[in-house]
């Protein structure tokens, strides 16, 4: 077994991991471990934009961004953290631009910005242009730019090293265990600080915008090591995924004037969000779509609706809304403008649907998209061990894997890309600072044993069960009962099923018994993570008897601030999930009714 030593280890090479790497490597010996080549990371698929109140086209302020995020979070976000992120936003966007990020541009040469769901001028209540974008490839540009800068700064990478365990000694971090994909060999990485930046876990559900790699490794690994997971019942279902495939169609389509249409040809969002209509928060729109389809107004009676960005449709509704550009001129678009601003969306529709969005509407349905919950952290990316604020020395988390909480019960569009750059940077700086004053914990002799046991079971299982069947059944039951709308009985059914699937999982045997590039074994191990997270999500959701943000219950339709204005903290102990709660940090904004 090979052993390596670095002061700071970063697990994951998406936006948060690479940002952390750039900053940590300035003052500490640093290595990045990633189960994928860095440029394959899921950050690259983010489309519409990154939020920052630059005010390039019209007046905007970080306070408005903060309030919009608090409101978007359905008041579950911690307001100190949200303020920290929104205040830091303009500076970090300028930093990215100075790293070479090719943002689209306004005629005056400044960074281009577009409207997005829930982004408003807090005085007029009208949509504001806050999403900084590079066509519909903003995530791709962020990922490429950060990787390029890592090459420039000679950051050390271990590509296709799959981290499978966290090593702790006396309650402090000592390193990680990783499996090298090429050889199947276990490596121990000894470290003073570890940053988890492993992304989300949308693969728990069947219809998802998330990559195959989004299997919740970070949360699952830390849960097994006694770290709680926060607010796992809150998962965002994005309104516009390509029908059946789940591939994301950016909210930027609606920012550019696109509207959602039901089977009767109605623009139904005006009934659910009279003020901002198709630019309401994602949870609001996903629920409205669900209700439209429940009442039989899905297209042709099916489980999809139309997203229409044809110029004639956009211009018709823009005229009805008296929509204007920031300069006061009437909002009108041409087919060429749509093509220039949304090239990748148009390509996806051509390839996967045979549909041309400039002349035809797109069939869309809600798609499992984003984990608001995750490893609990403070604004410095330090990881909490309990509801009282104890932290694990040397452990950090940033990006989708973390719950700061800046997204609360529902994330505002564009805040995920902002989250990864702001808190990735913070994690890198803090981990390097910590390692400067800390010494290495002694490595235990059996550091890799727990990981090795997990893989030995997959090699030696009876083989009476197939991992693919278990995965499919888990995804189906989560789609059916722990999706956009939830009720007690359904969730209980889901929980019983997941526990049964966890039993069946013990009989799985990897079809590939070799060492080199054994992706079979790793996929099956990832399924164990998904099963754990499905269970924690469902237990957390069953307990929360209210509706808030992404957690909507038919049997408890109202938000209940008296009982439930609090974060869930979940632990996995002796095969069971234990819950506790901690208060939400409220600074300036008292909870009030949420109307769009």
């Amino acid at each position: 077994m090979k052993t390596h030593q670095y002061e700071v280890l970063i697990v994951g090479a998406g936006g948060a991991g690479l940002m952390a790497a750039l900053y940590a490597s300035r003052s500490a010996s640093t290595a990045v471990l990633s189960k994928l080549y860095p440029t394959r990371s899921h950050t690259g698929t983010a489309q519409g934009g990154v939020g920052a109140a630059l005010g390039n086209l019209e007046e905007d302020r970080p306070e408005w961004h903060t309030f919009d995020s608090v409101k978007g979070s359905d008041y579950l976000g911690d307001q100190d953290a949200i303020e920290f992120m929104c205040e830091a936003a303009p500076q970090v966007i300028y930093e990215l631009e100075h790293m070479g990020l090719p943002f689209s541009r306004n005629p005056d040469g400044t960074i281009a910005q577009r409207p997005f769901g829930g982004h408003t001028n807090n005085v007029t209540g009208k949509p504001v242009t806050r999403a900084c974008y590079a066509a519909d490839r903003t995530g791709h540009m962020i990922l490429q730019t950060l990787y390029q800068q890592c090459i420039k700064n000679k950051v050390t990478f271990f590509d296709e090293f799959h981290v499978v365990d966290l090593i702790t000694v006396n309650g402090s971090v000592a390193g990680v265990v990783a499996l090298e994909l090429a050889t199947g060999e276990m490596h121990v990485f000894h470290a003073k600080a570890v940053i988890f930046a492993t992304g989300g876990h949308g693969r728990v559900w069947d219809v998802t915008s998330n990559a195959y790699a989004y299997t919740g490794d970070g949360v699952a690994i830390t849960l097994r090591r006694g770290v709680p997971a926060e607010d796992m019942e809150f998962f965002q279902f994005h309104p516009t995924g390509i029908y059946r495939l789940g591939i994301l169609i950016t909210e930027g389509v609606r920012g550019e004037g696109g509207v959602l249409i039901n089977d009767k040809g109605e623009r139904f969002m005006e009934r659910y969000a009279p003020k901002v209509k198709d630019l309401a928060s994602r949870d609001v729109i996903s629920r409205a779509m669900y209700l439209e389809m429940q009442e039989g107004r899905g297209v042709g009676g099916k489980r999809y609706l139309y997203l229409d960005v044809r110029p004639e449709t956009v211009n018709k509704y823009a005229a009805l809304d008296n929509r204007t550009r920031p300069d006061g001129s009437p909002f009108r678009v041409t087919g060429e403008e749509i093509l220039a601003k949304l090239p990748d969306i148009i390509d996806f529709c051509h390839v996967y649907l045979g549909v041309d969005p400039v002349t035809q509407p797109m069939p869309v349905q809600q798609t499992a998209h984003y984990a608001m919950g995750g490893i609990p952290t403070n604004v410095h990316a330090e990881v909490y061990l309990d509801e009282k604020g104890a932290i694990m020395p040397g452990l950090y988390a940033a990006g989708e894997v973390a719950c700061v909480s800046v997204h609360g019960a529902n994330r505002l569009g564009t805040n995920s890309l902002l989250d990864i750059v702001v808190f990735g940077k913070e994690a890198g700086l803090r981990a390097a600072e910590f390692s400067g004053g800390a010494s290495f914990q002694p490595l235990p002799g059996d550091a890799a044993d727990f990981a090795r046991e997990q893989f030995a079971r997959l090699r030696d299982g009876s083989g009476t069960e197939k991992a693919a069947d278990i995965a499919r059944e888990m995804k189906t039951v989560m789609d059916d009962h722990v999706g956009v709308f939830r009720v007690k009985d359904g969730m209980q059914q889901a929980l019983d099923k997941i526990r049964l699937l966890k039993e069946r999982y013990k009989e799985v045997r990897a079809g590939d018994q070799g060492s080199a590039f054994n992706t079979d074994m790793l996929n099956i191990w990832e399924l164990s993570n998904l099963l754990d997270l499905a269970e924690v999500t469902t237990v957390s959701a069953l307990a929360r008897e209210e509706s808030r943000g992404g957690h909507a219950r038919d049997d408890f339709p109202q938000r209940d601030d008296k009982k439930w204005l609090k974060h869930t903290m979940a632990w996995m102990r002796e095969g069971d999930v234990k819950l506790r709660y901690k208060p939400v940090t409220i600074t300036k904004y008292q909870p009030k009714e949420r109307v769009y």
């Binding site: 440029t39 070479g100 090719p102 943002f103 005629p107 040469g109 390839v351 070799g514 080199a516 590039f517």
Partner: protein, 233 residues
């Protein structure tokens, strides 16, 4: 419908040389070739190995030869390739297992062209200005996802692995024609080499192979012109 896949197989732990296996899969016309590979791996042969992640043409993991042409398996649909499909690893890089190739030589070439922005400030208070026209100048080459479909479709690269290949040049182009960047001359010097732009014989395989529809041969032509004229138009 039934689709028959003939797949290149090589396991470094057990095989002296590669062979092909046949699989039959029940599929729909709109299924991705990647969906078929997943079905085989899940239900017929867990040892079948390939890379994949986003499954919609953005991450660049799953470039492979599908019926002799470089494609992303997640962007090639059954209706586009037919019900008899041959799947092989991309050419010109060492095969490690089945459809997985060693990407290091490819990334070495990428790293050799200074594929990063030179310029900018440490703690900026404002963005650097750039006109929409200047931004448009290099837009096409910002789209590269480093999937290697172009480089491994190039006969010049098959002939010599020392040729830096189309993808590395696309990434050099992305910076050389960025009005904000300050290292164009250095990059052009790197490309002005017998293993640089001169190995491109305008065969257009790369342009045909690119899943992002980047006009690669045109971009290389612009680099050649910049080297000859010492000007960036």
């Amino acid at each position: 419908m039934k689709v028959t896949l003939k797949i290149f197989r090589y396991n470094p732990e057990t095989d002296m040389k590669p062979h092909y296996d046949r699989f039959v899969v029940e599929a729909e016309a709109t299924d991705r070739i990647l969906d078929l590979l997943e079905s085989i791996k899940n239900y017929q042969d867990g040892t079948l190995s390939y890379r994949r992640s986003c499954a919609h043409g953005i991450c660049g993991s799953d470039a492979m030869r599908i019926n002799g042409v470089n494609r992303l398996a997640c962007k090639a649909l059954v209706k586009d390739v037919g019900n008899k499909v041959t799947v092989e690893p991309i050419l010109g890089l060492p095969v490690e297992k089945d459809l997985i190739v060693d990407m290091e030589p490819f990334f070495d070439h990428y790293r050799s062209v200074m594929p990063y922005f030179v310029g900018g400030e440490e703690n900026p208070k404002k963005e650097q200005m750039q006109s929409p026209e200047d931004r448009e100048r290099f837009d096409d080459t910002t789209k590269c996802i480093l999937c290697a479909a172009c480089t491994t479709s190039c006969p010049s690269f098959w002939a010599s692995g020392e040729y830096i290949g189309p993808s590395a040049m696309v990434n050099a182009h992305r910076f050389i024609f960025d009005s904000r960047d300050q290292a164009a001359a250095e990059r052009l010097k790197i490309l002005n080499d017998q293993y640089g732009v001169y190995r491109c014989h305008t065969i257009f395989n790369c342009t045909d192979a690119c899943p992002r529809e980047i006009q690669i041969t045109k971009a290389i032509g612009e680099l050649k012109k910049a080297i000859v004229t010492a000007r960036l138009d």
